[in-house]
């Protein structure tokens, strides 16, 4: 083993530690989230992208996790604990930070299903009593206020969420989504999730 002078080694260790501590915007609180949601908050299966998400939506979800309203398996396993000790101040700061990041589209859906997915999203399926998503989520799936941005979220995440409502899992109390999503067939869910995953 090569001999490294003690002082050199100590200096190197201190420099690395200092640069880590001074890393821009990588406070401990944010790192608690990016462990799972990805270093740039773009998502990392199964955790969804947080970058560019709507502030009131994310705040509602954190409240929902703490109140155990949002009860699907991954939420229960990971987010209930993660949200438990967040102060209101932390909730506000974290959600403002993540909303400010530019979202990257996941681009991981099935390209062949996107045009059918677009039809369902923009026009709905009136014969099947399925509302057009665009009415609430916007023409570019960007969302508004407490309605989430869907554009560019991961295919598997969107698919799982849409399926879970149909299986009886809950979200925030006032959401109309459970009934709407329950009417979708498996094929329609895949088409929608594919279409949305490519939206910038």
């Amino acid at each position: 083993m090569r001999y490294i002078p003690l002082k050199t080694a100590a200096l190197a260790i201190v420099c690395i530690a200092a640069s880590a501590l001074m890393a821009h915007a990588e406070s401990l609180a944010i790192r608690n989230c990016t462990w799972c949601h990805g270093a740039s908050a773009q998502g990392y299966t199964p955790a969804p992208r947080l970058a560019g998400q709507r502030v009131p939506y994310m705040q509602n979800q954190l409240i929902s996790f703490r109140a155990h309203t949002r009860d699907n398996p991954f939420s229960k396993q990971y987010m209930w604990g993660a949200a438990r000790s967040l102060s209101p101040r932390a909730v506000r700061d974290l959600t403002l930070y993540f909303a400010s990041l530019a979202p990257d589209p996941a681009n991981d859906g099935d390209r062949e299903l996107t045009s059918t997915g677009r039809t369902i999203y923009q026009q709905g399926l009136p014969d099947a009593n399925i509302a057009a998503c665009v009415a609430c989520h916007g023409p570019n799936a960007e969302g508004v206020a407490e309605i989430p941005r869907l554009g560019g979220l991961a295919y598997t995440y969107l698919k799982r969420r849409l399926q879970q409502w149909g299986e009886g899992y809950h979200a925030t109390a006032r959401a109309p989504m459970p009934r709407i999503a329950s009417k979708l067939s498996r094929d329609q869910i895949e088409e929608l999730a594919s279409y949305l995953s490519f939206i910038k």
């Binding site: 923009q122 009593n129 609430c136 149909g166 329950s182 067939s185 094929d187 329609q188």
Partner: protein, 252 residues
């Protein structure tokens, strides 16, 4: 006798009885037993076929464990309307403001649904919704929403309400704008083709009044009741629109 035959247990017993008769070797009864077996067997097969046809479904929901939604009728269509317009028809602030339908005049709703179909009122989302509705369905939906009476959604800036009340009750004489109350009623509940405005969404009222010329009466030469609002919408200034919209959005 046919009632007994429909019991699967009885059928099984008859089959078994016939089989026993054949096995017992009773000559005279063999052909009768065989006929009985054949008859019971065919009867079972026919019932099984009919039952499987009746209960096979090809629907939009394809997973077995999911509760199947009501597929037909006014109730299912009402739920669909409520998905966007709110559980009691109170409206919803989606990406686009989705108006309150609760307590709305039936003639007005019916006229608007027809306007969406005919494109007198261009709106892609509502055109898709409306073009599959039969006249009977339209009438039923309008009647249903008429009966709801939830509290207004609210959320409008409160400081403008007083000014809005004045515009609603007295109009804007300098701009030749008549009092809204004259046609919409002193409590803004409307009548016939004139819509109820009480409790309507603030962003929706603002959008309609500021975009009237682009959203209503879009087929030239086609008589449309909306033309009567065109000069009003044109003459009101933006602050006046916001004030009267704020006032109306809180009315019960």
């Amino acid at each position: 006798m046919s009632a007994i035959w429909s019991d699967p247990l009885v059928k099984m017993m008859k089959l078994f009885e016939a089989y026993r008769m054949v096995r017992a070797g009773a000559v005279g009864s063999r052909s009768r037993a065989r006929r009985k077996m054949i008859f019971v067997g065919l009867h079972s097969a026919l019932q099984a076929t009919v039952l499987s046809l009746v209960f096979s479904t090809t629907g939009y929901a394809d997973s077995v464990g999911k509760p199947s939604p009501p597929r037909g009728g006014v109730a299912a269509k009402m739920e669909y309307c409520q998905d966007c317009h709110g559980p009691s028809g109170q409206g919803y602030r989606g990406f686009y403001p989705i108006p309150r339908l609760a307590g709305q005049q039936t003639e007005y709703i019916e006229n608007q649904l027809r306007a969406f179909i005919e494109r007198r009122r261009p709106n892609n989302i509502m055109a898709n919704v409306a073009h599959v509705l039969s006249p009977a369905m339209i009438a039923a939906l309008a009647a249903s929403f008429r009966s709801f009476n939830p509290a207004p959604l609210g959320g409008a800036p409160k400081h403008q309400v007083a000014a809005g009340k004045k515009i609603f009750e007295d109009g804007v004489p300098d701009a030749n704008v008549a009092a809204c109350a004259a046609c919409h009623g002193p409590d803004a509940t409307g009548k016939g083709l004139v819509p109820r405005l009480a409790g309507q969404l603030y962003p929706y009222l603002v959008k309609e009044l500021t975009n009237w010329g682009k959203e209503r009466g879009q087929i030239p030469g086609h008589a449309d009741t909306s033309f009567i609002m065109a000069p009003v919408a044109h003459s009101l200034t933006r602050p006046e629109v916001e004030a009267v919209a704020a006032y109306l959005s809180y009315l019960k």
